[in-house]
């Protein structure tokens, strides 16, 4: 652990202020989070889960916590341009705070709640306490602690038993940080009741050129038989930083799938933790990361098989260009008694330049018998024979490369079940391939 002058020098500024709307337990939780950071400091490369991500560039910036009621330059049409309109309910958060005038709420099934966390906290909401402190308590690090200390708002979604929400719920986290670098700390909570079904899309975007840090935590709890799809598109400007945690707890025979697409940020960390806590739960985690320039994309994943006959799948793919750095750090732990576990993790990477770098670390820790676990990792370059084949048919060089990269990426894009989102991601990836390739242009 390390101390960081700029960050810590300003940490007193970050100290949570009393907020009249907060219940006592929340004030206590915030204080505990802040105390944890003050005592332990920030992780270094010596910390196993952070060994690939240098935090220096983040810790040098004197971030200000984004307060409620700050002005912003965004309009509904800017949000459409930045984050797309997927239809259905869209909650927009500016610098971590709910912006009702930019949001649109459509009709939801009876009993379903989709609102801002701030409004739920303002009502007292004692029952949220265990949920709220869980991501911080289980595997704490400085940034989950910091999120606990500073969060004021985020999405709150609760779907009652036996209820299906047909339209995806789109959460747009947009940053607008024109004057001084802001720190946003949204916390979202998704409670999926027994046998309920819902799809959640998180889009993280910002204004190009702005320097800010998004430190987001999303907690998803699936009751028995629930089915939740989670999509995350991280398209922050490459002047920004993004640290995200998706923390998932699964009940009996529940099904969770996550699709993460990392395109933006200077340094981004997409952490996913899944607890398979009751028999027969299934999880599938997909991830695509496309670092280029000096971008760094880290994907730390922890799946804990804590109950018998659960299934987990991971398919992560990286396309890394320029001096970009991609990391897959996936860990599967099969706890004693998790009989009949079926776990597979796959990571494939395409390096597009000589200076691009990838670290891949699929890890299995098996403490139970009668399990089926596989893992595999590959790092390669574009197949030059295939490039020549395409060019010999008249396909221009840059287009031939793009076609092969798309083919590599499409395995994941094709698995995005939500149509408007899939088109959106196809466009973003195509744009990336068309504008990218400082290396490609030279060859």
């Amino acid at each position: 652990m390390t101390t960081a002058t700029a960050f810590l020098g300003g940490l007193s500024r970050l100290e949570p202020r009393p907020n009249g709307h907060h219940p006592a337990w929340l004030t206590e939780a915030r204080r505990a989070g802040f105390g944890w950071v003050a005592e332990h400091g920030f992780p270094t490369l010596k910390d196993e889960d952070w060994r690939y991500t240098r935090l220096g560039p983040i810790l040098e910036v004197p971030f200000q916590p984004a307060a409620t009621g700050m002005g912003y330059r965004l309009s509904s049409s800017t949000i459409d341009a930045l984050a797309a309109d997927l239809g259905g309910t869209r909650l927009v958060f500016v610098n971590g705070h709910f912006a009702p005038e930019l949001s649109s709420l459509t009709e939801l099934p009876e009993g379903a709640t989709v609102t801002s966390l701030a409004s739920v906290l303002a009502e007292g909401a004692e029952r949220l306490e265990p949920l709220f402190s869980r991501p911080f308590a289980a595997h704490h690090h400085a940034f989950t602690a910091l999120n606990a200390a500073l969060t004021e708002d985020g999405a709150f979604i609760r779907i009652p038993a036996d209820t299906t929400v047909d339209q995806p719920i789109h959460l747009v986290f947009v940053s607008d940080s024109p004057t001084s670098p802001l720190l946003s700390s949204p916390r979202s909570v998704v409670l999926a009741g027994p046998r309920s079904r819902v799809a959640i899309v998180e889009t993280h975007v910002g204004v190009p050129g702005d320097v800010y840090l998004t430190n987001a935590v999303t907690e998803v709890a699936l009751a028995d038989g629930a089915a939740v799809e989670h999509y995350k598109v991280q398209d922050e400007p490459d002047t920004a930083f993004h640290l995200g945690l998706l923390d998932v707890h699964q009940g009996r025979a529940s099904r969770f799938s996550s699709h993460s697409v990392a395109l933006g940020s200077s340094i981004a960390r997409h952490e996913v933790r899944v607890g398979l806590e009751a028999e027969g739960a299934e999880v599938s985690l997909d991830g695509l990361y496309m670092a280029r320039g000096d971008q760094h994309h880290d994907n730390p994943i922890l799946i804990e098989h804590a109950a018998p006959r659960c299934t987990s799948r991971q398919l992560y793919k990286g396309v890394v260009d320029g001096r970009g750095h991609g990391v897959f750090n996936g860990r599967v732990v099969v706890h004693p008694g998790a009989l009949g576990t079926d776990a597979a993790q796959t990571n494939k990477n395409l390096l597009l330049s000589d200076r691009a770098e990838v670290d891949t670390r699929p890890r299995l820790e098996i403490l139970a018998d009668d399990v089926r676990c596989t893992h595999g990792a590959a790092v390669g370059r574009l197949d030059e024979d295939a490039v020549f084949y395409l060019r010999s048919r008249g396909v221009p060089h840059q287009m031939a490369r793009g076609l092969l990269i798309s083919a590599f990426v499409n395995e994941l894009v094709d698995r995005l079940r939500l149509e408007p989102l899939r088109s959106r991601v196809e466009k973003l990836v195509a744009h990336r391939l068309a504008t990218g390739g400082e290396e490609a242009a030279k060859t």
Binding site: D383, Y389, L390, G394, A400, S406
Partner: protein
């Protein structure tokens, strides 16, 4: 149409083509025969623009310096190579790729692009030429194709792209007699007074089906003999022994 003059190609210290000269007129089919390692496939790849070689000499194609063009510009100018080992490209649909290729060529030639419907009609018509099944259209380029299917796919692509100069690199290798007949019929259907073909083969048997105007024998990186189609039969009888010595003697 094509004039190759004193063409040399090397990879590192190893010189593979040591002064090849051939002239090909529009409408002609020339066969290039020779033992393994004689430089036949290198000649095909150098003409198509493979960048792995250091090339010297001159290749004039319709009056322009072919060696100065990129592979895609050669394709746009009408050069086509049917590969000996067509590359598998998982995740790229056969038809999608071919339409992209055709439209790239059409764009460079100042023609309108074909839309999906028109292209499909063209593809169905040309598939019949090589007796290809419709199911090949939606599959990834060459992925999981048998040897024969890959070769048919090459000729199918040639039928779509309608090159002026087609180079067929061992298109007969790995084919059984039925597949050979189908592929040869496809090639013959594409013979035309405006089109020249360079047919590279190890065996005489392909030339029973695709009858050449001229036959060149390569050995040791050079053309050591040229003649009419009867030269192929002579080779079939006596083999390549003896010829290689001619090739290696300066």
């Amino acid at each position: 149409m094509l004039r190759i003059e004193d063409l040399h190609a090397r990879i590192g210290d190893s010189e593979i083509l040591r002064g090849v000269s051939v002239e090909l007129q529009a409408g002609e089919v020339h066969a290039v025969m020779g033992p393994n390692g004689s430089g036949k496939s290198t000649l095909a790849h150098v003409l198509a623009g493979r960048e792995a070689y250091d090339v010297t000499g001159r290749v004039l194609y319709e009056g322009q310096d072919l060696l100065a063009l990129s592979p895609e510009d050669r394709a746009a100018a009408g050069v086509f190579l049917a590969f000996q080992y067509p590359v598998e490209i998982p995740g790229v649909g056969n038809l999608y790729f071919l339409r992209m290729a055709l439209n790239s060529l059409r764009r460079q030639r100042g023609l309108d692009e074909l839309d999906a419907m028109d292209f499909l009609a063209l593809a169905e018509e040309r598939m019949a030429l090589v007796e290809m099944d419709r199911s090949f259209m939606s599959r990834s380029v060459n992925e999981g194709f048998s040897g024969g299917e890959k070769k048919r796919n090459e000729i199918f692509q040639m039928a779509i792209l309608e090159p002026k100069l087609a180079i067929l690199d061992e298109t007969d290798s790995g084919l059984d007699i039925d597949a050979l007949r189908v592929v040869a019929n496809g090639v013959n259907a594409l013979r035309s007074p405006d089109r020249a073909m360079l047919v590279i083969t190890h065996y005489q048997r392909l030339l029973d089906y695709i009858v050449p105007d001229r036959v060149h024998v390569m050995a040791g990186g050079r053309i050591v003999r040229s003649g009419d189609k009867d030269l192929a039969f002579e080779l079939e009888e006596h083999g390549y022994t003896g010829l290689e010595q001619v090739g290696t003697t300066p």
